[in-house]
Symmetry: C2
Subunit: 321 residues, 2 copies
Amino acid sequence: MKTTIADVAGLAGVAKSTVSRYLNGGYVSDETRKKIDQVIKDTKYEPNTFAQSLKAKKTNLVGVVIPRLNSYSASLTLKGIDEKLRGEGYQLLISNTDQSIDREIESLYSFANQKVAGIILMATQITKEHLMAIREIEVPILSIGQEHQGVASLVYNDEEAGYDLAQYVLGCGHRRMIYVGVSEADVAVGKNRKRGFYRALEEAEDVEVDFYETDFSMKSAYRLFDSLNLEGKTLIACATDNIALGMMKALGERGISIPGDISITGFGDYEVADIMGLTTMHYPYEEAGQLAAQTVLYPEAARVSPPKSQIIFRKSVDILK
Amino acid sequence: MKTTIADVAGLAGVAKSTVSRYLNGGYVSDETRKKIDQVIKDTKYEPNTFAQSLKAKKTNLVGVVIPRLNSYSASLTLKGIDEKLRGEGYQLLISNTDQSIDREIESLYSFANQKVAGIILMATQITKEHLMAIREIEVPILSIGQEHQGVASLVYNDEEAGYDLAQYVLGCGHRRMIYVGVSEADVAVGKNRKRGFYRALEEAEDVEVDFYETDFSMKSAYRLFDSLNLEGKTLIACATDNIALGMMKALGERGISIPGDISITGFGDYEVADIMGLTTMHYPYEEAGQLAAQTVLYPEAARVSPPKSQIIFRKSVDILK
DNA sequence: CTGAAAGCGCTTACAG
DNA sequence: CTGAAAGCGCTTACAG
């Protein structure tokens, strides 16, 4: 039989309320404390979390809504979140939305209904419905990656990352390039990365860049390759490593050598980037996850930034001068 | 104010118990049913899960204990689990153990304490402590990947996969090879894969194979490379794609061409295997995850198998004859 | 088919 | 500092 607070109280010769106070850090005399201590140890008593939650109306659960489970950034961020949460005595509840916005909204309400202590939202965009839900549910929420008026967020400085990478590439002597991005509906990856990249280009002289749009899958990038006009270009800058990888596959199959014939860069520093020798921007996903967990549990600022992204120099960029 | 079952009962002019019965599929007259229906729609009533769990002593949560969050197989399996669970109205609770056995055990107890409806255990091995915990907690449990007397399990046929791959490689004319495996403490990957592989070799003639052991990280494999005696070998069979990838990195850096100078194979068919052109064994991780969720919720057999693993032919194996 | 009552295991004023 | 009592929102026999 599972021991309850009543059992503990009985064995310790005190009232249930006293045990409860002991458990929750209220006033208890030293003597009483010792007795209860002992009984709890003997019986291995563990409070029933439902009973607790029913009264206290909150849980030790933190919900994470995530657009994809099987992506490098997602799983590493999750790892960081989990680490921090565990340290603070919280449990990780996951809702994979499979990139469906409806499911993101649904998950928000469902988490709220489960009285999670907080929600970490890895949205691809923040719509009116998101905003409504966030307002309505009254649960501390933190958005990772996407930023919006009135919702606490943890954002990478994508603009700066784009700028830094472009600066580097420019420094290597590249002047004719292709930028393969994603939809601007994704403010972080689609808009900010590109903007930073372009800003650096504008500050330089005699630069030309063609823009192409694709989605996040390696396959789409791979397919897009044939539509690219490579004429005179020396570099393909890709908005994510996955895009770069898709391109590299196409390049390899056509016998176009990297960086001899053409240079390529990514963003993200996925695990594979290393073996593929891809020069890319490292994003501190795991640290960001930890920071996110910390922030959703103990909010301070409405906007927090993870460590700066760093360029990882590998061999996919040719030095032209 | 959140509406409760009492509110619904009041508005519908019936007793709480009737509403409860309505909710749980008990006897309710058509007329009553309609009234309650309407009220629930109007008030958007949602039962408080804690109150439900407190009485019913079970939840709609399924716990997954997982050794690593950021691995290809893990996240894909998780995806499969989540898909099935969502369809059945269950939520995914995750505990990342970071390869710590102590934490696996802890998680088991902690999940039990949270009254999860079931636990899916992705253990790296099943120890006595595991067995004790499993026995004690009385929660339906399913082990993925590892098999043990008396614990329900979903296992890949690793022996067969190893055998099939070796058959293929033999068919390509390879006779002098290296097998890079992992510790046999991991029965599935360390023992069974290797055993299957070796069994096929024994059935052939004039075959030589050298064995080396490493762990699951790409880095360790990469480091191990220099200790390999490649003399006369035509193929390196690796127990996982990660190991193969580490080897490929080392090979690439030394200008040794694949498969011209040496062939290589893996197991797992990670996403990268495709761009790297690695011939490997495809494991149906996502399907296995779905099957696992199904099985832990509605147990039938004590041992269930996912679809058969398939060889994915790419270009890392040379055809010698 | 329906309702009144007890109880799940806690927490929280309140009185002492 | 401690205890008795009420209540959180449900479910479950039980009686009708």
